[in-house]
């Protein structure tokens, strides 16, 4: 008798496990509103720029009675997550995404009413438009730019420009940086972000057009000035002007600059909040990007899209429209530290650090002055996506690493980059 009972002893274990699993599952039916949705979700991915959205979400709920759930997603895996959510029919209502995806592009709503509203003055060259439909409006701009260790410059008594209208050239800057390095016994003149977007800035500054899409929709062979610029860039990686390790073995330029051992750092506006908090050992400053050609790499911080989830579709559009209304967008840009996509806003950023405030001022001026080519990188990406193509893997970084390491010459490098880009476009 006891053995027959004991035989069933395992049953409770299985039952408990099954109940536990059942309890974990289920319970995902909260949209019961038939007419106007009461709640929408808004996804974004950011390390710090979220406060502006949560503030506006409160205002929006007070005004429209629709709750916006702001969800911060990790950047690593965000695109995968959106793709899988599309397959599960559970996309968010509104999202700020790093780039559009052919998998869900047909589920987007038309945002032209918001984008074409003259009161907002949204920069038309930055919205993603297809067949008269506006699919995405950028939440903010980002621009590449140069930072210097101001303390080292002061110590060495070397002057630097502060007005983007009267900028220096790369040669002048490097001469100044070398002077500072030798006078202050710093380690390097410069660290430069290891990124395909950031190297574009250097190419444009030196008169090159970089890697551009041709009329046939393929990437073209770059011009001679681009080749000269890349050759110059390689020569700078001599472990004196620049440490080789950043472009060849993944050393962190941000950390190197923060150590106070490097005279200057070429990165972008997104570093400003980080530096405002994270640099206490010396004074830093944003300085005009060196020329001769006044250009930078202008990119979009995030693209705001509204998905068509039937019941919540109109509420989603309302939220997007609310975000970009002039007064609301001003608040958003200020508290998140955004470079504005709307012209003519008087922004007062809430930073305490004077260096950070000056930096934002400088970036806003630089964007006005920048050569139109500065935004061509992101424009090409958008164009490809609208054609249903995308470059998933930019070969620039690995090919440049081989070039800098002396494994291949400049011609082979640009050929490999162009071929690598084009092979992903078929």
């Amino acid at each position: 008798m006891s053995t027959s009972l004991r035989r069933w002893r395992w049953v409770p274990v299985v039952v408990v496990a099954a109940v536990a699993l059942a309890a974990c599952g289920g319970g995902s039916g909260d949209d019961s509103a038939s007419g106007g949705a009461k709640k929408i979700t808004f996804w974004l991915s950011t390390a710090a720029q979220i406060q502006g959205y949560t503030d506006l979400a409160k205002d929006f709920e007070a005004k429209e009675g629709i709750k916006v759930e702001v969800v911060n997603q990790p950047y690593d895996g965000y695109q995968d997550k959106l793709r899988q959510s599309a397959q599960a029919n559970s996309l968010p209502d509104v999202a700020s995404v790093p780039s559009l995806d052919t998998i869900w592009i047909n589920k987007l709503q038309d945002l032209s009413a918001t984008s074409n509203n003259d009161a907002n003055k949204i920069r038309k060259d930055l919205v993603t438009e297809q067949d008269g439909k506006v699919l995405a409006i950028p939440s903010d701009l980002t621009a590449a730019g140069l930072f210097i260790n101001k303390s080292l410059f002061t110590k060495a008594g070397v002057p630097f420009p502060t007005d983007p209208a009267k900028t220096w050239t790369w040669d002048e800057f490097l001469a100044a940086a070398t002077k500072v390095r030798t006078a202050t016994k710093a380690k390097y003149d410069l660290v430069y972000d290891n990124s395909a977007a950031r190297i574009r800035g250097f190419i444009y500054n030196n008169g090159g057009k970089g890697f551009q899409l041709g009329d046939d929709g393929k990437y073209q062979k770059p011009d001679d000035a681009t080749i000269a610029a890349l050759t110059k860039f390689k020569a700078m990686n001599d472990d004196k002007v620049m440490p080789k390790s950043v472009w060849t073995s993944g050393a962190d330029p941000n950390a190197l600059f923060k150590s106070g051992q490097v005279v200057a750092y070429y990165s972008g506006v997104w570093q400003v909040p980080d530096f405002a908090d994270g640099i206490t050992g010396f004074e830093w400053a944003s300085v005009p990007t060196p020329g001769p050609v006044q250009a930078t790499d202008i990119n979009l911080g995030g693209k705001v899209v509204a998905f068509n989830n039937d019941k919540t579709a109109s509420a989603a559009k309302k939220w997007v429209d609310f975000l970009f209304q002039k007064d609301n967008y001003t608040k958003l840009a200020q508290s998140n530290g955004y470079l504005s996509v709307e012209s003519g806003l008087a922004l007062k950023y809430p930073f305490k650090s004077p260096a950070a405030l000056a930096a934002f001022d400088l970036y806003n001026k630089e964007i006005e002055l920048a050569d139109p080519i500065s935004a061509s990188g992101q424009a090409a990406g958008t164009k490809l996506i609208l054609e249903g193509k995308a470059v998933q893997d930019d070969p620039t970084k690995p090919e440049m690493a081989k070039f800098i390491n002396g494994e291949q010459d400049v011609q082979k490098t640009v050929d490999n980059i162009v071929n690598g880009l084009n092979s992903q476009l078929s």
Partner: protein, 291 residues
């Protein structure tokens, strides 16, 4: 002559033996401490760095101890996402996945070790095959299966695909192979059914394996990242690793907050290890029979 030399020879060898033992001990201990330093110092540095303010993390020259210790990294990490809720979610996932993994692996490993059928062997091959594809490759098909089972956006979606692991199954299989068949036969002669043999004889014997697998499984689920991120949609169901990852931005990383969050997410694993360490360290796997 032989009688006179023998004692001194004995003495000499014992003396040599003792000093030999001592030097052996000395070297062994030195190497142990060296290992402790090699493994321990980075962890210690990591812990100490989590108390440094952001401005001090990259300052030159590097310092081991924080000059101005602060817990700002921790407080910011605690407020940047719902740590307590994510913690509970992760705990539910890790505990239920671990329990189910052990049950499945023990039963499966027992069958693979002690039954001799062609389809059992085929099944073993199938389980082995699951280790041959990296997780990224099966991510999309696995997602479709989970979605069609209506598990999407529930914690069970994280648990269920993780239950069958080749590692666990083969750990148990290898162990049960070492258990003599005599023991099984003795049990059968005494009238024990197959299930009760497994539950009452085999499982108690395999306790060290169970606990080792428990620690591994718990750690795997605790550190799981991309799968929970993809399969959970409601932020109220997120796990701790997803929360920690939100601190890492596209262009820059808030290191001081990330350090704080990482330390917080490590604490439960360390606690678990401290509780179970005597079982993990106890490699004395004894089948209980003299053979």
């Amino acid at each position: 002559m032989a009688a006179t030399t023998a004692p001194s020879a004995v003495r000499r060898t014992t003396k040599q033996g003792m000093t030999g033992d001592l030097t052996k001990k000395f070297w062994a201990t030195t190497i142990m401490w060296l290992m402790v330093a090699v493994y321990g110092l980075p962890v210690l540095w990591f812990l100490l760095s989590s108390f440094k303010p952001a401005g001090e993390l990259f300052s030159y020259p590097l310092t081991f101890f924080p000059k101005h210790p602060t817990i700002k990294g921790y407080t910011q990490a605690w407020t940047s996402f719902d740590v307590a809720k994510y913690f509970v979610n992760t705990l539910i996932v890790a505990v239920s996945a671990t329990v189910l993994t052990i049950v499945a692996s023990a039963a499966c490993g027992y069958a693979l070790a002690k039954y001799n059928n062609w389809w059992v062997k085929l099944f073993a091959l199938c389980i082995l095959a699951t280790t041959m594809l990296p997780g990224e490759v099966i991510l999309a098909p696995l997602f479709l299966v989970v979605r069609d089972l209506h598990l999407y956006n529930s914690l069970s979606a994280v648990v269920v695909p993780a239950v069958i692991t080749a590692t666990g199954t083969f750990m148990f299989r290898q162990f049960f192979l070492t258990v003599p068949n005599d023991l099984l036969e003795a049990a059968r002669i005494d009238g024990s059914g197959e299930l009760s043999t497994l539950l009452r004889i085999m499982l108690p014997l395999s306790r060290p394996i169970m606990l080792t697998l428990a620690i591994f499984s718990f750690q795997w689920r605790w550190n799981d990242y991309i799968w929970p991120l993809v399969v959970l949609n409601d932020p109220g169901k997120y796990t701790l690793q997803i929360g920690v990852a939100t601190i890492v931005g596209a262009e820059n990383v808030n290191w001081s907050v990330l350090l704080g969050a990482s330390v917080l997410s490590m604490i439960p694993l360390v606690a678990l290890y401290l509780v179970f360490q005597k079982y993990v360290m106890n490699a004395d796997i004894n089948a209980g029979l003299k053979d």
